[in-house]
């Protein structure tokens, strides 16, 4: 690329943007170094014209003055040094250590924006990951290479669940566990500390790399954090043969940073003030997951977001759901009932689960049981609504059975301990136990041979 060029005429400073005069050869997305009297900052060129460049400053423009500021165009894009040595360490989104450890010396510079994976090079994900969580394994199964977010609400235990999954996730019949690339986006300090401590206590810290941007940092750092993390994830997965679990937390902070930057550029706002391109922008993050041909590793992505006002139709969960391969959705009423994890399975979905289950993968009856549990729980919830209006006594006998099933389903199947790691067989057996509330004729989703084999009344008889 080009050489370093230096400029000093700044004609405008606004929000995170500044205009640098006299530049005619700045590349789009070129990296810029800004020297102010109070220290160095970095930025990129977001609009390059003959004679002027608009630069977005990562650390914010606080302290930049039209006079006495030197702007150096570095002749390259935004690259971060990536290396295996990052496991066990903590960095900021620009790759600078945050843990008092040494800088990464032996690394490879990578453009953190990455490139789209060729669909013809993708390998379809279909290896079941046992998370030990019934609501996920039994009803919304996760497979290796999937992108499956958690839609949480403020105050709900998404951190606990993410940590539990990171600890318990295994692919059956395989040694070794996932390397975790953890990106804290606009995190509160105590959240970052929680995860750090959790990984230390579980002895996993040496296979965890953390990329952290804190809540009080300028918005651009939050835009960079997941990209740097995923650049590392791609490197580990596709060049170092590792199975990577990428946890991004909290994508709501990411979207708010995106909105803030868009507003500062005076772009036409879309729904909720978020920019119209938020879908495409989020896609450049979420699509960085999967498996590819000829490579042993994989990236399984678990972004976590907080639904503003618990509203699933809010643009942040909405656009996320349009890109990811399903979602695990928390429900305030389950949370208030004391159910952990408070997963509403009807509002949740795993689009890739179907390919990871069944004979030889989980158990032959899995798909049938799963469909039956969904159908029964959906009817239970429906019946609950009806009972609230017309009173439980007016319900038919069968409807009453469904009511009972709904309660048991939440308390026995969904609910589980923070350290409870259930095998898929345990989960399915609980499911059968619950289904035995019903007569055989209600089980229209289950093949006769599985009913004969697993339906508790038959099992008892043998």
């Amino acid at each position: 690329m080009m050489n370093v060029r230096e400029f000093s005429k700044i004609s405008m400073i606004k929000g995170t943007l500044m205009a640098v005069e006299g530049v005619s050869d700045a590349s789009y997305n070129e990296l810029v170094e800004i020297e102010t009297t109070s220290g160095k900052k970095r930025g990129i060129v977001v609009d390059s014209q003959l004679g002027v460049s608009i630069v977005q400053v990562f650390e914010g423009t606080t302290g930049i003055s039209p006079t006495g500021t030197k702007v150096r165009m570095l002749g390259r894009g935004l690259e971060v040094k990536i290396s295996e040595e990052m496991l066990g360490r903590i960095f900021n989104p620009l790759g600078d250590p945050l843990d008092n450890g040494p800088e990464i010396i032996k690394g490879e510079r990578r453009d953190i924006n990455g490139e789209p994976i060729n669909p013809a090079m993708r390998e379809y994900p279909e290896e079941f990951i046992q998370t030990g969580i019934s609501a996920i394994d039994g009803l919304n199964p996760l497979v290796r290479g999937q992108k499956l977010p958690i839609f949480s609400g403020s105050g709900m235990p998404s951190n606990l669940l993410a940590a539990q999954i990171a600890k318990q996730a295994t692919v059956r019949g395989e040694e070794g566990s996932f390397a975790v690339v953890f990106s804290a986006i606009g995190a509160r300090y105590d959240d970052a500390v929680f995860f750090r401590k959790f990984f230390e206590e579980t002895g996993a810290i040496n296979r965890v790399a953390m990329v952290v941007s804190l809540a009080n940092e300028p918005p651009v750092m939050k835009i960079l954090a997941p990209r740097t993390a995923l650049t590392l994830a791609e490197y580990l997965a596709f060049e170092k043969d590792m199975h990577v679990l990428a946890i991004l937390i909290d994508m709501t902070n990411y979207c708010e940073a995106l909105r803030e930057i868009s507003a500062s550029k005076e772009e036409v706002p879309g729904r909720g003030g978020y920019p119209g391109y938020m879908y495409s922008d989020l896609a450049t993050i979420y699509e960085r997951a999967g498996k590819v041909k000829g490579k042993k590793g994989s990236i399984t992505q678990m972004p976590i977001l907080t639904m503003p006002n618990d509203d699933m139709t809010h643009p942040i969960p909405d656009l996320t759901g349009y890109i990811t391969e399903g979602q695990i959705t928390f429900d305030r009423s389950l949370y208030n009932k004391g159910i952990y994890p408070p997963i509403n399975v009807l509002l949740s979905l795993s689009r890739l689960g179907k390919d990871g289950i069944g004979e030889g993968k989980t158990r032959e009856d899995h798909a049938n049981v799963m469909n039956q549990l969904f159908a029964a729980y959906a009817r239970a919830v429906d019946t609950r609504g009806l009972a609230a209006i017309i009173g439980e006594d007016s319900l038919t006998e069968m409807d009453k059975k469904y009511l009972l099933f709904g309660e048991m389903f939440e308390r026995k199947l969904i609910n589980q301990g923070l350290n409870e790691n259930r095998s898929i067989e345990t989960t399915l057996d609980i499911g059968w136990e619950l289904l035995s509330i019903f007569p055989e004729s209600e089980l229209t989703n289950i093949k006769a041979e599985y009913i004969k084999k697993y339906y508790p009344p038959y099992r008892g008889k043998k």
């Binding site: 590349s27 490139e115 013809a120 729904r271 119209g276 896609a283 139709t313 759901g321 009817r379 007016s394």
Partner: protein
């Protein structure tokens, strides 16, 4: 042609000067990396260029190279079974030659294999007069598709030379025409600008259903060959699965699937499954009749806008050969958003929700490309292009501009209902809100070819579903006890319709595709329950009693969707006989 000079780079929008002689919609190559772009506005000597690849690293001062021609696609044998990107670049070839999991920018690979020889059989001879659209020969492109090589639109003349039957590449001249005194060489390769619909002789009314094997579609809201349909719904409601079912099972001769701004893995899913799955109508591998076009959500936005037109042009080309073509687009919302994004960067005045004011006319133009037509050329032939598109409304709100405008231009509407999807009732098509303008037209076909009572049966089914909705509202107000027995029977009948017929598991080997005969059999069972059940209530039987007695057979019928194969339909006759005997014995006894 003189080169232009870049004066501004703002994301996918590049402005260049020294472009006074440029053409609107001309394709250009931008910067040292020669990125593909298209001119979308000209002001003085400045051209605004929409660039189809990531512009990082491009800078003012670099050159813009003109090509003089608009964005076009290559049309020739070698299209079937392939995966292209939104600009017809072959992602499959790029994968096998680049050895990288990623698509790097600036890659230049021609869409079709230029070295492969195709077996060409001429159908004209020296001295014949030929006109645009005339078939001059055929190539067996796949086991399923005979590629008709045609005289390109705008060309005519007398055959001066025609090659003998043999193997030729797509670039070799196979025919030399005397066109008004000029020699005009013709190869198997045609190019056509994607934004201009290919010409045809005459538009005709659709006459036949485009069967899809999906029961709720074929029976409740049928599509016709040459028809247009939209399937809107919030995320996770089943748009892609339904469109994939159409791509897999529909009775189209050729299917073109455009993944427009959607997931990479969905394209991969098709790539891995289509070679293995069999076209139910011919028994051949699906890939032999399919073309996939992928501009995934993380690929550059501008190419997403183009991908729809690339798909439509390839589809029209096969329609012109006289085939029934289905073009599936998932999702047109992402295409509209690309329009919005590019319009915004050009500082156009936004209309509704930031979309450009020309959104409705672009949508209208797109759906206008569908239809059943008498195509150009001899021998006379009719081709059809059916369009089925997903719409992805933000927050599932159907009043937003893309959904509401699409509704104006399509004849079939398959709205997906979030509450059905959450309850795992799939396909989650709302039977009260959907519509099809083709019902009467296809009823004739069904009554003649499948079952003379089809239309009548459909009406009973639809009425029970409508009536159920009204009754449910009453139940919510005053409880179920207040209902008359015949109304209670309607509720049971509707439940049976949903469980045994409307619900269809796209991932079950047997249930995924229903032949029209299988559909009619199940309908007979549903109507039987409705008719005879009603009669019993009139005789004083309670619905509770009826249901209790009929449940075992009804459970069997519900399960049979996934058990009885399309070639074992006599088993339905047995089930229907069983159901009849339940009613017979009840009728013989007394109402208790």
């Amino acid at each position: 042609m003189e080169n232009g000079r870049i004066v501004r780079v703002n994301g996918p929008l590049v402005v260049a000067d020294n472009m006074r002689s440029a053409l609107m919609y001309e394709v250009v190559q931008v910067g040292e990396g020669k990125l593909v772009g298209e001119i979308t506005r000209i002001e003085g000597d400045r051209a605004f260029i929409q660039v189809y690849e990531d512009t990082s690293g491009v800078k003012p001062g670099e050159a813009v190279y003109r090509t003089g021609s608009p964005l076009s696609v290559d049309l020739a044998p070698g299209l079937m079974g392939r995966l292209f990107d939104g600009l017809e670049r072959p992602l499959d070839t790029i994968a096998s030659t680049s050895n990288s999991p990623f698509v790097s920018k600036g890659i230049k690979v021609s869409p079709l294999d230029e070295n492969k020889k195709w077996h060409f059989v001429p159908t004209v001879k020296k001295g014949d007069k030929v006109d645009e659209g005339d078939i001059i020969g055929t190539v067996p492109e796949t086991g399923l598709v005979e590629h008709k090589v045609m005289v390109p639109p705008g060309i005519h003349g007398t055959v001066k030379e025609i090659v003998p039957e043999g193997d030729y590449t797509i670039n070799e001249n196979i025919l030399i025409l005397d066109m008004e005194g000029d020699e005009k060489p013709i190869s198997m390769l045609q190019r056509w600008p994607v934004r201009i619909p290919r010409p045809y002789k005459e538009k005709l009314e659709p006459t036949e259903p485009l069967l899809t094997g999906v029961r709720v579609l074929d029976t409740i809201f049928p599509l016709a060959k040459g028809g247009t349909a939209a399937i809107p719904g919030p995320f996770g409601s089943g748009k892609t699965v339904t469109l994939q079912s159409l791509a897999k099972w529909s009775a189209a001769k050729i299917v073109i699937y455009v993944g427009c701004g959607e997931r990479g893995n969905e394209m991969t899913d098709e790539l891995r499954s289509f070679p293995k799955l069999k076209d139910p109508w011919t028994g051949r591998p699906l890939l032999e009749r399919s073309i996939l076009i992928a501009n995934t959500s993380n690929m550059p936005v501008a190419a997403r806008e183009a991908s729809i037109y690339v798909g439509a042009t390839i589809a029209e080309y096969f329609r012109d050969q006289g085939y029934d073509v289905l073009l599936v687009a998932d999702s047109t919302t992402r295409w509209a958003e690309a329009l919005r994004d590019l319009g915004g960067r050009m500082e156009e005045m936004p209309a509704e929700e930031g979309f450009p004011s020309y959104l409705p006319s672009r949508l209208a133009e797109y759906y206008e490309r569908g239809g059943r037509v008498k195509v150009l050329g001899k021998p006379e032939r009719i081709g059809s292009l059916s369009l089925a598109s997903a719409v992805s409304p933000p927050g599932g709100d159907f009043t937003e501009p893309v959904t509401s405008n699409t509704l104006r231009f399509v004849k079939v509407f398959w709205p997906l209902d979030v509450s059905l999807a959450h309850a795992r009732h799939f396909p989650a098509i709302n039977w009260l809100q959907g519509f099809s303008a083709y019902v009467d037209l296809v009823a004739k076909w069904w009554n003649t070819n499948i079952d003379p009572k089809w239309k009548e049966m459909r009406e009973i089914i639809v009425n029970d579903l409508i009536r159920e909705d009204q009754l449910k509202q009453i139940v919510r107000l005053v409880g179920p006890d207040s209902l008359a027995e015949k109304d209670k029977l309607t509720l049971e009948s509707a439940k049976f319709i949903k469980e045994a017929f409307l619900k269809q598991n796209a991932f079950d080997d047997i249930d995924a595709f229903s032949s029209p005969q299988k559909m009619a059999k199940i309908m007979n069972a549903l109507v039987l329950f409705h008719d005879r059940g009603l009669k019993l209530t009139e005789k004083g039987f309670s619905v509770k009693d009826i249901v209790e007695k009929a449940t075992p057979v009804m459970t069997e019928i519900i399960k049979s969707k996934a058990i009885i194969k399309n070639n074992e339909l006599q088993k339905y006759d047995e089930l229907i006989a069983k159901l009849n005997s339940v009613f017979d014995s009840m009728e013989k006894g007394d109402a208790s």
